[in-house]
């Protein structure tokens, strides 16, 4: 019955692909629009997850309420991050340096805070859609289906938003020529805030939807951060389409390696794939250079 | 092709319009450069003779800087052959080309902003020459070359200033000094008088003339005709990456195609700014 393996590999690949895509979307948006390498993206991910967990476990409300709360909390934190640590250095020469180091510092502070508030044990965030079904011997969870749907939907929403709406075009304008954008009466600083808040909300969605798959603990933001970074760069820095495709390429690759070669080879496999990719196409799939526009 | 004679200050070549038999120091044959479909440089061919000042003229966006990027190795030509002192260089990396004796300046004035003027020039004199580059100490030859370059560019007294805080003209001189510190035999100047006012412009023209007098061959990009006429023995006019005319300035500026495309309403041979017509 080798096709069970095949179905498992494909299902795993599509699921992983959506998971990685969902995590990378916020990071890609932040990098593409405002050239912010947000290493606190993983921290915002767990903020969303912990907020949802807190609503479910302390307020005893359903996950359907916890999801929006989680997303809003994450978005709020991102807005705060913008106001306190990004705004003062916009347009300054040391922007890259300061934001990189500041986001690393904040991600540590967040995981330390989580440790203090929620203690180190693993927490369980209930899935939004429980239950699963067996197809050709492979367990297809409903939450998995939701994640795939959510990932595709959010990619579409973000893509359409950037391409057709007034605010979306303004974000692209700011990312390409900051000074000219302000001459077009586009409030540059507020646009930075909008982008970073949206990217925070996306991290929050990923946090709440994906936590049922991973156990939630104060440092469980680190791995998604690495995977989001890999997908973002693999897809071409700042290219929304690139992140979507790269997510599925990496997801399928990892899933097939896991099914056919064994779990231990998953991470080294991905690592080698990145090295090969970076040498062959240093600007990523869709990247046209370090400065990839959306 | 024998190795050309010493490209030292051979009096003959500089004076007249470049004798025919002279072996060129730089030769470009059908050089092209495309950026994703947009052909910035389309099969340009020209040659620069040792010791002369050769200018490439054309409006912005005509592909001049792309040509310089290909010659200096900053980016790779998508077609054609570039020979420097009888050796093909279009495949080499920028640092290799510099060490062969070809140094360039940039259109946007750039410097190692966090370092002093002396440190800036020392980078050129230490790493810009062929041969083993020292790792742990600055050898005497490197120090002397740096100080000579500073003296020639009039920066001898400002060694301790931070490059990032220099005014525009001084930064342009510094960029020139770091190039000279590599003791080049061919110097590529990308709009040396761009962004300068008339006073500063004539200072820069005199400086370039002094440099050419030391025997260094100069290949210059410029669209300020005043500087081109003052310095160049031969010019190449390009538009949209294509050659329109080539030769001594006097004949080229009378070429109808040049007038039609480039000079438009300006009287040929006229000074840069024409008195207003009614």
């Amino acid at each position: 019955m080798h096709n069970t393996q095949l179905v498992q590999a494909v299902w795993g690949g599509v699921l992983f692909g959506s998971v990685y895509g969902l995590m990378a979307l916020g990071l890609t948006l932040a990098w593409g629009a405002v050239r912010l390498l947000n290493l606190a993206h993983g921290a915002i991910f767990i903020i969303g997850a912990y907020a949802a967990y807190w609503v479910v476990s302390s307020l005893h409300l359903t996950i359907l309420v916890a999801l929006p709360v989680g997303v809003l909390t994450a978005a709020l934190f991102a807005a705060l991050l913008h106001a306190l640590f990004i705004r003062p250095v916009i347009g300054k020469p040391g922007f890259d340096n300061a934001t990189l180091v500041a986001t690393v510092g904040l991600s540590i502070a967040v995981s330390a805070a989580a440790l203090l508030i929620f203690n180190p044990e693993y927490k369980v965030v209930p899935p939004v859609v429980p239950g699963a079904s067996i197809v050709a011997g492979v367990q297809i969870t409903n939450q998995g289906l939701l994640v795939i749907a959510a990932s595709l939907a959010l990619f579409a929403v973000v893509y359409l938003f950037l391409t057709y709406t007034r605010q979306g075009m303004a974000i692209r304008a700011v990312s390409q020529q900051r000074e000219a954008a302000s001459l077009m009466s586009i409030p540059v600083v507020r646009t930075y805030g909008v982008v970073i808040t949206i990217s925070g909300a996306l991290a929050g969605v990923a946090g709440v939807l994906l936590s049922p798959f991973f156990f939630l603990n104060p440092s469980s933001g680190f791995n998604p951060m690495i995977q989001a970074l890999i997908v973002t760069i693999f897809g071409g820095l700042g290219s929304v389409r690139g992140a979507l495709v790269a997510g599925y390429v990496l997801g399928l690759f990892e899933s097939f390696v896991e099914v056919y070669l064994g779990v231990a080879w998953a991470l080294p496999g991905v690592f080698l794939l990145i090295i090969v990719m970076l040498i062959v196409r240093p600007n990523g799939l869709f990247g046209v250079g370090e400065v990839r526009r959306l | 092709m024998t190795q050309p004679g010493p490209a030292g200050p051979s009096p003959g070549a500089v004076a007249d319009g470049g004798p025919a038999h002279q072996v060129p120091i730089l030769e470009c044959a059908q050089v092209s450069k495309a950026y994703g479909g947009l052909l910035a440089v389309s099969s340009l061919s020209f040659a620069v003779l040792p010791g002369e000042v050769y200018a490439i003229v054309g409006p912005n966006g005509a592909g001049k800087t792309s040509l310089f990027d290909c010659i200096s190795g900053v980016s790779r030509a998508t077609g054609g052959v570039i020979r420097f002192r009888d050796r093909e260089i279009q495949g080499l990396r920028a640092h290799q080309i510099c060490r062969l004796g070809l140094a360039r300046t940039f259109q946007t004035t750039v410097a190692f902003d966090s370092q002093t003027v002396l440190a800036n020039v020392l980078v050129g004199s230490t790493f810009g020459r062929e041969g083993e580059n020292p790792v742990l100490s600055f050898n005497a030859a490197a120090r002397e070359a740096a100080l000579d370059a500073l003296a020639l560019c009039g920066l001898g007294a400002r060694q301790a200033a931070l490059a990032g805080q220099l005014p525009v003209l001084a930064r342009k001189r510094l960029m020139l000094a770091t190039a000279l510190a590599t003791r080049p035999s061919l110097l590529l100047l990308d709009e040396p008088v761009g962004g300068l006012n008339p006073g500063e412009r004539s200072q820069m023209i005199d400086l370039i003339r002094d440099i050419a007098r030391t025997g260094v061959t100069v290949l210059m990009i410029e669209h300020v005709m005043k500087a081109v006429l003052a310095l160049a023995q031969r010019i190449l006019v390009i538009h949209h990456g294509q050659e329109i005319a080539q030769g001594p300035p006097q004949t080229v500026l009378r070429d109808p195609r040049v007038i039609e495309v480039y000079l438009g309403a300006l009287r040929p041979m006229g000074p840069d700014a024409e008195p207003a017509r009614a």
């Binding site: 075009m169 390409q176 077009m184 | 300068l196 480039y262 438009g264 309403a265």
Partner: protein, 233 residues
């Protein structure tokens, strides 16, 4: 329409403008002439808030906009076409134009404004889907002008429209600027090149080393050859 009093401005460490007074009347065409590097661009960028103003005042239609942010000034009707166009390279011609009409009320009527700009620059409509970075020098300048016209402008500042263009193309650009002026738009032009502004300028200022040294009606100043020769080098 626009009044500048005792404006001093510059970049970190070096002051470029040392007290400039200048006025642009309703529907008037004013040109600031001066050699390269003497502060023409700094003057325009100081007026639209891109460069910090050290001293002096900028008044737009009676309102003091000296300390306002560039985007607020732009929303107030002061449109600045910057030196070197500063287009959005990876956005299409149409998207660049739409960004010109970003501010609130104008966005609502963007389609009608787009139609007007297409009538003035017909080939812009043919290239609507093309990325700005693939345009030639002259085409970029026209797109920049078109983008400025999309906004509800009370006054337009244009920085060196002839910069880097082959003279043949420059003729077309100035012709377009003339039609804009004939539409009743007040204009403040910064230029190094005197011979194109004849039909445009009602008044001319001469700027040298950050100071306005001469001011007068265009006809009289532009004829004064010796004056031009000394300034434009």
């Amino acid at each position: 329409m626009l009044e500048v009093r005792g404006l001093a401005a510059g970049y970190a460490g070096s002051e470029v403008l040392h007290g400039v007074d200048l006025t642009v009347g309703e529907g008037e065409g004013v040109v600031v002439l001066g050699p390269n590097g003497h502060g023409k661009t700094t003057l325009l960028r100081a007026i639209t808030g891109l460069v910090s103003v050290r001293a002096g005042q900028v008044i737009l239609a009676g309102q003091d906009i000296t300390r306002w942010r560039p985007d607020v000034i732009a929303a107030g009707g002061l449109v600045h076409i910057p030196q070197g166009d500063l287009l959005f390279p990876d956005m299409t011609v149409r998207e660049n134009l739409l960004m010109g009409a970003y501010s609130g009320p104008t966005w609502a009527e963007r389609r009608t404004r787009l139609g007007r700009v297409y009538r003035l620059f017909p080939w812009l409509e043919e290239r609507a889907g093309q990325l700005a970075r693939t345009l030639s020098g002259g085409e970029r300048r026209m797109l920049a002008l078109g983008r400025g016209l999309m906004a509800r402008a009370r006054i337009m500042l244009i920085d060196e429209p002839s910069l880097g263009l082959a003279p043949v193309v420059t003729e077309q650009i100035y012709a377009n600027i003339r039609t804009i002026k004939e539409g009743g738009m007040s204009l403040l032009l910064a230029d190094e090149n005197a011979n194109h502004v004849a039909g445009l300028a009602d008044r001319v200022y001469l700027l040298e080393a950050g100071l306005l040294v001469r001011e007068g009606p265009a006809g009289e100043l532009l004829q004064d050859e010796a004056l031009l020769e000394s300034y434009l080098g």
